[in-house]
Symmetry: C2
Subunit: 336 residues, 2 copies
Amino acid sequence: MTQDKILLDHGSGGKMSHRLISEIMLPLFDNPTLSRMDDSAVLDIRGKRFAFSTDSFVVDPLFFPGGNIGDLAVNGTINDLVVSGASPLVLSVGLIIEEGFPIDQLKTILQSMQTAASSAGVQIVTGDTKVVHKGAADKLFINTSGIGWVPEHIDVGAHRVKPGDVIILSGSIAEHGMTILSQREGLAFDTPIQSDTAALHHIVKRMTMVSRHIHAMRDLTRGGLGTALNEIAEKSGTGMTIHEEKIPVKPEVMAICELLGFDPLYVANEGKLIAFVAPNDVDAVISAMKRDKLGKDACVIGEVIADHPGQVLMNTRIGGSRIVDMLTGEQIPRIC
Amino acid sequence: MTQDKILLDHGSGGKMSHRLISEIMLPLFDNPTLSRMDDSAVLDIRGKRFAFSTDSFVVDPLFFPGGNIGDLAVNGTINDLVVSGASPLVLSVGLIIEEGFPIDQLKTILQSMQTAASSAGVQIVTGDTKVVHKGAADKLFINTSGIGWVPEHIDVGAHRVKPGDVIILSGSIAEHGMTILSQREGLAFDTPIQSDTAALHHIVKRMTMVSRHIHAMRDLTRGGLGTALNEIAEKSGTGMTIHEEKIPVKPEVMAICELLGFDPLYVANEGKLIAFVAPNDVDAVISAMKRDKLGKDACVIGEVIADHPGQVLMNTRIGGSRIVDMLTGEQIPRIC
């Protein structure tokens, strides 16, 4: 690390986050499960396979169109589990609350957590609450950790991605990030946008029921689609080609991105995933996704190639080709 | 709740914390595992029994005699697992870092986490890092969640405590809390004190190897010995009698407690436990504990009675008897 202090960029989910993890954390906590750096750790415990994942949520503001920090925290950890092929079972909740936080807001947030958890068939089974002095934390931070069970026949992960795989995206991108940013900046638009926060357990179940050749999945959070593709390209040692005109972005979201100078490829989502699927299974997987309310706009956006290992190339709308790098810098802090 | 805002007291681990949990959280997240309110949730997953626990650490200062927030966070969650009868297996780590935090301090803390985890035979397998703006969090908060495996023959929990059980304490109390407070207040003493932060996996293994009649265990953290006894009394519907002169407190710790007006019964510990044991097994359990470096001062401090259900009575050093209530109010904020 060339810096001696933590910067906001270190929490971006992009390049600086990756350097922090790969240069400091992985060498220290040296073990093969962590080093795989998937969304969840998949563990063999007493002859059963489990996924284990953790996520802390510091989103600002706490309430936003489409959700609040509570359902975001539940959906986020559920999604990390399901894209690892796991059926989510239980969650823990760790609250850090600033002194003076209104109890009615806390109740609303906890109620959203319970609603999100129970609609995904998940129980919140253990928790912890800390309170810090006014000024020592900004309102409320939530950690959720979760355990899921991984069925025997399921093996998904970046290590299985190979040239020829087709890249499927579940729906339109950049909604969560632009919603949070609009709220924070106090912007109002004719066509209001809202966060896509949602639990992906149901759509993933539909997908894994029709195909045993889904090689990897990833939910698109901090760093957006661009960063997620780069992570998988890097880990699998493959190249990727995506096609700009195939990537769905709602017009109102695109308009805000353009107005504020954001590239939707790097804007956070909280209810979208990409899947890497063997060509023969693509039609079945897309049909299955389209039957789910979270997959109505599912589509092929590109393919995995043998050339350009570790790189993501994009055929642009205007007919050119450019390299899509990982997010550099913190595009929008405290997005989740 | 009569208050409409969260107070520091709600994070005390004492009465206000219990009201927050029992009046708001339990009715919302209604399920039998959470409602048991043990240190860990013990779950039946696919025919195996697992313990799952979470804890967020907001201790101030981050570094203190005897440890730092890193080993505290690892030992804390390990201890929550082991007092539920589990062998700890894996941990997750969620970091919330304030912008500008020195990377060398972060490295030191992470190194302590790794050292603590590996000396307990536990792997850190998944993690998450968030960075917030300067002023939005005080330096560094750490969440650890953990999974342990519960052997078939082990069943410990407040529900098993019954009249006649003997209460064993593993060693002298109040060291962690008074160390943190001394540091925070900049107090120096002739005989320096240090936190007792330690992982209890080894001493608990010794105990469970010699007895199948350890009915419950509890590590003594926020709220101290007094609160832990009250929690077990309340949940088991039994009464308890303890004997003040049998409770070990190091003279230098007692001196600081007296100087600053703290009752050691309510001061936090981070490497001590109580166990409720059937009378016939007490000698064997104490002998096993004394063979462990964390149990050299293990001793009987009282017994469970049928009278006074839900109450803890203490025979005082001066020959009287008084009720020991749960901690009321926040004795020392941000102790862990």
